[in-house]
């Protein structure tokens, strides 16, 4: 049994996601006046693919059998460009209102993740001290 369990790993990955998302949003806002720039977003591409590809669930009857789903832990999110729309005359499709709301949302999301992470550490500390 691991001391930290799965919670901290999930929180860590979520923090990675939020941080990458912040970079992407900053870049979109930076390029709001750049001709022919297409906005980018962070998506859970691989998670989505797994959901689509693994619609059958199979039970392994022997532990040496090859697992049906390959759960690659790294890089579950990808950055994709949205090339399908154009808002501006100069080919740019950054929607500044959307970017600013995403920015605010992402900030709160990040802070709540950090709060939760700290809460986890506090409870671990409380356990280590025997509740004293």
């Amino acid at each position: 049994m691991s001391l930290f369990g799965n919670t901290i790993n999930s929180l860590e990955r979520s923090l990675d996601y939020a941080s990458l998302k912040n970079q992407t949003i900053s870049n979109n806002i930076a390029n709001v006046d750049t001709p022919n720039y297409k906005s980018k977003s962070v998506v859970f591409q691989q998670v989505l693919d797994e959901k689509i590809n693994n619609q059958f669930s199979a039970k392994r009857t022997h532990p040496k059998h090859i697992p049906f789903s390959s759960s690659a832990e790294q890089n579950t999110f990808q950055i994709v460009s949205n090339n399908s729309t154009t808002y501006n005359n100069n080919g740019n499709n950054v929607d500044i209102d959307k970017e600013m709301t995403e920015l605010a949302k992402n900030q709160i999301y990040y802070q709540s993740l950090v709060d939760r992470l700290n809460g986890k550490f506090t409870s671990l500390q409380s356990v280590i001290k025997g509740g004293r």
Binding site: A18, Q23, N31, Y37, N75
Partner: protein, 151 residues
């Protein structure tokens, strides 16, 4: 991936928008300048309106390589000024025979600066600048929050 990547991205945009504002100021300041450059005939030419052309910084080889390898684009690294272009619009002709730069018919060539256009450009630059300051502050507060992990 550096922790200050987002801040650098926003900073590049702040620099670019500031340059845009500077260009607008220059255009407005020179709205009446009839002697800006000397052309090939050795005569004075009025001031030509200048425009800033932006370019995304991630048009680099690296970003295309990553896109080809992983199928995902890079998170981008901001914006840069590609060039300061000049407006090719013809100069305004104003009848003023007493002007020292008037031609034989009495017309003076004035710069092709339209103050209305400049003000719109200035407002657009200001708004973009503000948006980038907000993004910068958001990044800053996130980084400071990250320092609180485990405290």
């Amino acid at each position: 991936m550096s922790i200050f990547h987002s801040i650098n991205t926003s900073a590049s945009a702040l620099t670019a928008q500031r340059l845009r504002m500077d260009t607008v100021s220059s255009n407005l300041a020179n709205a009446e300048t009839t002697r800006a450059t000397i052309n090939e005939n050795g005569e004075y030419e009025p001031y030509r309106r200048k425009m800033v052309v932006f370019e995304s910084k991630d048009n680099s080889f690296n970003s295309f390589l990553q896109k080809a390898r992983v199928g995902s684009s890079s998170q981008g690294s901001g914006v840069r000024v590609k060039e300061i272009a000049e407006d090719d619009e013809p100069f305004k002709l104003v009848y003023n025979p007493n002007h020292p730069d008037a031609n034989e018919e009495g017309y003076v060539q004035l710069p092709n600066v339209d103050p209305l256009k400049e003000m719109v450009d200035l407002m657009s630059a200001t708004r973009s600048y503000e948006a980038n300051v907000t993004a910068l502050n958001a990044t800053k507060s996130m980084l400071l929050k990250a320092l609180e992990i485990g405290k």
